[in-house]
Structure formats: C-alpha cells, structure tokens
C-alpha cells in the first residue's frame, strides 16, 4: 500500500487514476470503463487496450469477451460499490476492478460535519467500502492513500489530535482522505459464526517442536466448545511435526483445525481473516492453556457487554542448562491484584495471549498493528485504550513459558503510544485506590515492626536495631 504525500492537489486525481490503470493493464486487455472518462479512454486506446465504454452509473455486462479490468469513474464508484458489487463479481468473475474514492468517513470530514463547518460528505466511507468488497469476494491488491490534512478544525490543537487519534485507533481508514484502489477477486468472506471460538496459534519455526506439541496438547484438552484452531505458519516453515501433532490431537474431538500459510509480515492478518469465530484468541508455541481458561473468558463475555476478556496468567520461567526438558524454576502470576490497570497492558504485553475478543463488539478496530509488520505486540494496549475489558482475577488459567525474565521471556516491546478513552472518574478512582494501597502497605509495615519489636524486647541489641528502623520509618512518613 502506498501513501500519496499530503497536499497533492485533487485536480491531479484523474491523472493519478489514469496512471494507476495504465500500470495494471497490458496491451490487448479488455477494459470496461464505467461512468465515462474521455481522457482515460483515450489513454487506454493509445495503450493498445480493447476498451468498452459504459455511461454508468450502473454496470452491465458488455457484449463480447469478458473484461479483464473494470474501471469505475464518477458516480459509478458509489453506485457500484454500494449496490452493484455482487452483480459485477458474478458477471465479470475474473475482472480486476479499479477506482478512486473520496472517503466519506475521513476524520477531517467527520470533524467538520460535527463542528458544523461543512455538510455531510456524500458517498461511501473507505471502511464501508472495504467491508463490502470483502463480503462480495474481493481483496485489495493495490492501494494508494492520500492522508487527511493534519489540521482542519478550529479546535485546540491537542484536542483535535486526540480526537483524530481515537478515530484512527478505532479505524485507520478514518485517516484517509482519498484513495486509489485495485481490487481482485477472491473467495468471499464468511460471516462470523456465533458462539465459535477461533484460536490462532502462530508458530515461529524457530520454536522447538516439543514446545509447540505441548501447546497443542494443552489446547486439545481444554473444555471450550465449539473451537476452531488455526495454526499459522510463515511460508517456507517446516511443518511436518506440527501437522503430525495436529492430526493426532484432533482425534480427541475437541477442535477443528486448519493451517494458515502466509508471508511472515501478513501472517496474523491472514489468520484473523480466515478465522470464522465470533470469539477470537491468540497464542503462540510458548503458551499453555488450562482446561477452563476459555470457558471462563467466553462465559464472562456472554454474561456482560465487554468487548474482550482477559485472565490472569503465569509467566513460567525455565532454568537454563538443565536436562533435556525445560525445568520450571518458577511460575509468577501476572498481573497481580484484583483490578486490571491500564499500565498492565503496557507492562505485560504477553496479556495478548490471555485474552478472548468478541469480534461483534469491536467494530472496525484493526487487530493487527499498522507499520509493525502487521504484528500484535501492542494489541492489548490498543484494545485496552478503547474497550474496557473484563478481568478474571483469581487463579491464573494459562501460562507463557520461556527463559527467566532477566534473559527475556519474549515480551515484545510496545511500540505504539495510543490515546485512552476513559471516564475521568475511572482515572481518579484508580489514582485514589493506588494511594490507599500504599497507605495500607505502610500501616502493615509498621504493625509488623511493632509485633516483632514486642516479641524481641528482651534481646537488647535486636531491640535497639528495631527501634532505629522504626524511627527511620517515622521520619519517612513525616517527610
């Protein structure tokens, strides 16, 4: 996907569409131009194409050979995208479709409409267009986006920035003012299956086969039903051991499984696209889930209105250099406490492996990050910024395993710095609670010292030491 520099005049839009079309057709291609554009038709003819003109705005199948390309111009763009895509997909099943779209859902347009400084922008939003394309059986093969102007309202700069950031977090499409698109046919997206949990297990081929096998074994013995398991492996990765494990554990009858192969950078996105479940969870080979982990999370979502639920997890630390199997030196639960704090999303990025998302409640929120190779390292932070989760405190119900923390358990750094959508009272409540816990801890410390002091009063030098310690604590409190 390419970005057109901000400030490129819209007068060039026709020329840019012409340039895109010419870059994607060869001489002899059968090109149907819907909506009428004399310069484009002339350019295509000069390029050696067999051009069929249609006045539009609707599309009808032309006589003769099936078109290899269909170009939508003018009013035909909104007309076909909003009501004629299925017909186009059916009657020109092999055709690549090219068009230019002014985004009715651009942040600039939304804010200007909200402030009353501009009328509602007519047409279709890019987000709506993407959904319709997916439903009809198209995928984006090429996209050139012109970003919104950085300032477009009389609001204070920080305020406008925050509002735009929140919109961008919900849907990156809101940051696109205008775009050029080439879309190609593919299998239509299937509707989410209610009640189904899709677990995407991304396998890094560098991880040991034994570790992956254990992750799959634990999944096979968990209790949530129905469950589909998508084992996502980068293209070129060795799969025979993973396939053997999958085939064997499938005989327990607790999951349906399939493999997802894609380039490493697109792996998460492709797996999420293929996942059919209303509920979605993400694992990797380091993870183990306990039998009721998913049943508790899904139940919590079904009982309430939250968009996602997350459980306490164990960070399982392996001792290095021990026997053939990793020796578990310690299991450390995280996050601690009864409340999930916003900071936990940043300090424990592994929480991404302890959550379940209800995809019917997050709208167009992008599950994969932008500009990070389509990764999910910051997914918990981004989700937490916009959607307050249900936190299942109590006993940890899953594990993330690895060498001890000092050597790096594998916590991915959180690259993004999202804006937070919360009530002010939630913030002040969290701050108040933190203060209260600090006071309680100090009180407890003092009572502990007093208790020990009373018991050891008869031993002079210990007593003196304790007195000195208590005096220092008092000074600390008074300072």
């Amino acid at each position: 996907m390419n970005a057109i520099p901000e400030g490129v005049p819209t007068a060039d839009a026709g020329e840019r569409l012409t340039a895109l079309v010419l870059s994607r057709v060869r001489a002899g291609a059968v090109v149907c131009v819907v909506g009428g554009s004399k310069p484009l038709v002339a350019a295509l003819c000069a390029h050696g194409c067999d051009v069929r003109e249609q006045p539009g705005p609707g599309w009808t199948r032309p006589e003769g050979a099936e078109p290899s390309h269909v170009v939508l111009t003018g009013d035909a763009v909104a007309h076909v995208l909003t009501g004629g895509l299925e017909v186009l997909r059916q009657e020109a099943p092999m055709a690549e479709v090219l068009f230019q779209l002014r985004n009715a859902g651009a942040a600039r347009a939304l804010l200007e409409t909200w402030l009353g400084t501009a009328p509602v922008r007519a047409g279709i939003s890019e987000q709506g267009m993407l959904r319709r394309l997916s439903d009809a059986g198209y995928r984006i093969a090429h996209r050139e986006a012109l970003p919104c102007a950085s300032r477009s309202t009389p609001l204070a700069e920080d305020t406008e920035q925050a509002l735009r950031a929140l919109l961008a977090q919900l849907s990156p499409s809101t940051q696109v003012e205008e775009g050029l698109y080439a879309v190609v046919p593919e299998a239509p997206a299937r509707a989410l299956e209610p009640g189904l949990l899709s677990v995407v297990l991304v396998h890094d081929p560098r991880a040991s086969a034994a570790t992956l096998d254990e992750a799959l074994f634990a999944l096979a013995c968990q209790e949530q039903q129905p469950l589909e398991l998508l084992l996502a492996v980068p293209e070129g990765g060795e799969l025979s051991a993973a396939e053997a494990s999958l085939e064997r554990y499938a005989t327990l009858g607790t999951f349906q499984s399939r493999m997802v192969r894609a380039p490493a950078g697109d792996l998460h996105a492709e797996a999420f696209r293929q996942a059919r479940g209303q509920y979605l969870a993400l694992l990797d080979a380091r993870c183990l889930v306990y039998p009721r982990h998913y049943t508790r999370l899904v139940h919590a979502l079904q009982e309430g209105s939250a968009a996602w639920a997350v459980a306490r997890s164990f960070r399982t630390e392996w001792a290095s250099g021990s026997g053939a199997m990793p020796y578990v030196r310690a299991k450390v639960p995280f996050p601690l406490g009864e409340q999930l704090e916003v900071q936990h999303f940043a300090t424990h990025p592994e929480l991404v492996h302890a959550l379940v998302i209800d995809r019917t409640r997050i709208g167009p929120f992008p599950l994969t990050g932008v500009g990070q190779g389509g990764g999910v390292g910051d997914l918990a932070v981004r989700l937490g910024a916009l959607f307050v989760p249900v936190f299942l405190a109590g006993i940890a119900s899953c594990e993330v395993r690895g060498p001890c923390l000092a050597q790096g358990v594998g916590a991915a750094p959180v690259a993004s710095d999202p804006w937070l959508l919360r009530r002010v009272s939630a913030w002040t409540g969290a701050v108040g609670q933190a203060r209260e816990e600090a006071l309680l801890a100090r009180e407890f410390r003092h009572r502990l010292v007093d208790g020990v002091n009373a018991r050891l009063h008869a031993i002079p030098w210990i007593h003196d030491t304790l007195r000195a310690l208590a005096d220092r604590l008092k000074l600390d409190r008074n300072s």
Binding site: E214, R248, V289, Y290, S322, M325, V328, V332
Partner: protein, 293 residues
C-alpha cells in the same frame, strides 16, 4: 527402526506387531467415571501405542463402582478390553494392589503403571516412563509430570530424583514391589503415594520424575468437595501416625473434624525407625516437600 527405541521395544516384551507378552501393565481403577473421561483416556492410550519406539503394554480396568455399568462403556471403546468388576470399593491402593499382584505374578512383567482415569496421557508418556525406569538399576518409582500445571514439588533437573511421586500416573518396578509390596491399604485414598515413595527411598530405591512423560491432569479448579477434603485430612493423619509425627496427626484430625468428618478410630502413633524417620517430611503441610513456586 534402529537405536534406543528399537532396543527398548525388545526388552519391553510385546513389540509393535503384537508378538510376545507385554512387559508393561497399565492398571486403571474406575469409580463412576463420566463416559467422556474414559473416551479421552482411551484415545490417549492409542496415541501411546502408536508412538515411535513405544513399548507394548497391556491395559486392565478394575471397577470400584457400585455397579458394573462402566463395563459397557469400556467394551464399547475396546471390545477385547480386560475389564473386571470388583463388587466393592477397594479404594485406590487396594484396587491397584490386586492388579499389581497379578501383574508381577506374570512372568516377564517388569513394570506396573497406575493410571488415573481422569488423566490424558501425552503420546510419549508410557515410552518415557519406561525409558526412565530402565535407565538405572535401582529404580523404584517413576512418575509422569503433571501437565499443564506442573506440581510445584521439586525434582533434580538432571537426575529426576524427587521427594515423593504422585500416584496420578506412576510406574512401579518389579523390584519395588518385591521389596516393599504395594500401597498401604489403610490409606483408602490420598497420601498412599507419599507413603510408598518414602518406603521406597528408605529401602534405597530411586524415586524419580520423568519430565518428558506428561499426563494432562488439572484439578485446581475442580469443584470443592467436602468429602474429598475430609479424606485427604484423614489419610494425612494416618501418615503422621505411621511416621511418628503426633503433632501433624492431631493438626490434620482437627481439620478433619472442622470439615464435619465422622469420628473414627484414631490411628496409633508408632515409631517408624530411623530409616523412615529421616525421610519423612512433615514441614510443608499437605505438600510433603518444599514448593518451587
């Protein structure tokens, strides 16, 4: 097939083609188990038969339930299953003792493996247990590693030595059976594995974990059962009495009573002798060993 896997199959008795008498017996003691539980276990036993380098093994089911309705379930899983109905609840140790006696009364049987019916055996479980047992001549007991939430008691990461072995999936060697007998049947359920482990160690036999032998067995979120809690305390009190720790016994009896346990004949506190005394560990409540976490 060559190498260690092939050698292990030969010494284990029946090979993959089913020739010969299996040198490994698996005993499964039933008590009113859900059908699904037994289906899962049976599937995992099939995995173990199919695993590369796996030893041949025989499976015997002994049903302690009030009736023999599980016979249909077991024979539906395997028409030739060796199912026996005990006609009474013999308890965990009593039932395994009967199977163990029969197993070791059969020529060629080297190891008996207790298998809890609510576990799912990893495909390598039986093979790795046997491999670990055969690694040293003084092996008494080898336990499978509980999975996914491993038991926090320690073991030596190199030798596998551990203070005691869980009876969830537990390999008992012929040598141990010959020298220590089986479980102490006074423990109707719970703590009999700790007792057998301590007796094995006192006899100079090795008690180890086989980390690569995994059994899926998770009970942390199992519903609270006052009956189970009382049985644990009662068995623990007996363990305290048997190993001469009157304080531990009294504390457990107090808990038993607080849980609503019916009065029973309090066991006599005996002096177990120095060999057992130096091994018994009562300083960690019902864990009987320090925890790793």
């Amino acid at each position: 097939m060559c190498g260690a896997g092939a050698r292990r199959r030969l010494v284990s008795g029946r090979d993959a083609a089913g020739r010969g008498e299996p040198g490994i017996w698996l005993g499964i003691v039933l008590y009113r188990n859900p059908t699904r539980e037994l289906e899962r276990l049976w599937t995992s036993l099939q995995w173990n038969r199919d695993a590369m380098g796996a030893p041949g093994f025989r499976v015997t089911w002994l049903d302690n339930s009030p009736d023999d309705s599980l016979r249909d379930v077991v024979t539906r899983l395997d028409a030739r299953a060796d199912y026996r109905y005990s006609g009474q609840n013999l308890g965990f140790g009593g039932a395994h003792n009967r199977l163990m006696a029969e197993a070791f009364g059969t020529a060629g049987v080297r190891h008996y493996i207790c298998v809890n019916p609510d576990g799912v055996l990893h495909p390598d479980c039986v093979r790795e247990l046997v491999h670990e047992a055969d690694r040293l001549p003084d092996t008494g007991l080898v336990e499978a590693r509980l999975f996914p939430d491993e038991h926090p008691k320690p073991y030596d990461p190199v030798t596998g030595e551990t203070p005691w072995c869980s009876g969830c999936v537990l390999l008992v060697t012929r040598k141990l059976h010959a020298r220590a007998g089986g479980f102490d049947e006074r423990f109707f359920m719970y703590c009999e594995d700790v007792d057998l482990s301590w007796r094995a160690r006192a006899l100079g036999l090795s008690v180890r974990v086989a980390p690569a032998a995994r059994v899926h067995h998770y009970t942390v979120t199992r519903e609270e059962s006052p009956l189970r809690e009382r049985m644990v305390r009662r068995s623990a009190a007996l363990l305290g009495a048997k190993y001469g720790n009157a304080t531990f016994m009294r504390d457990r009896l107090r808990e038993y009573s607080a849980l609503g346990g019916e009065p029973f004949a309090v066991p006599e506190v005996v002096n177990p002798g120095w060999r057992l005394s130096r091994i018994a560990e009562f300083g960690h409540h019902l864990e009987f060993a320090r925890r790793r976490w």
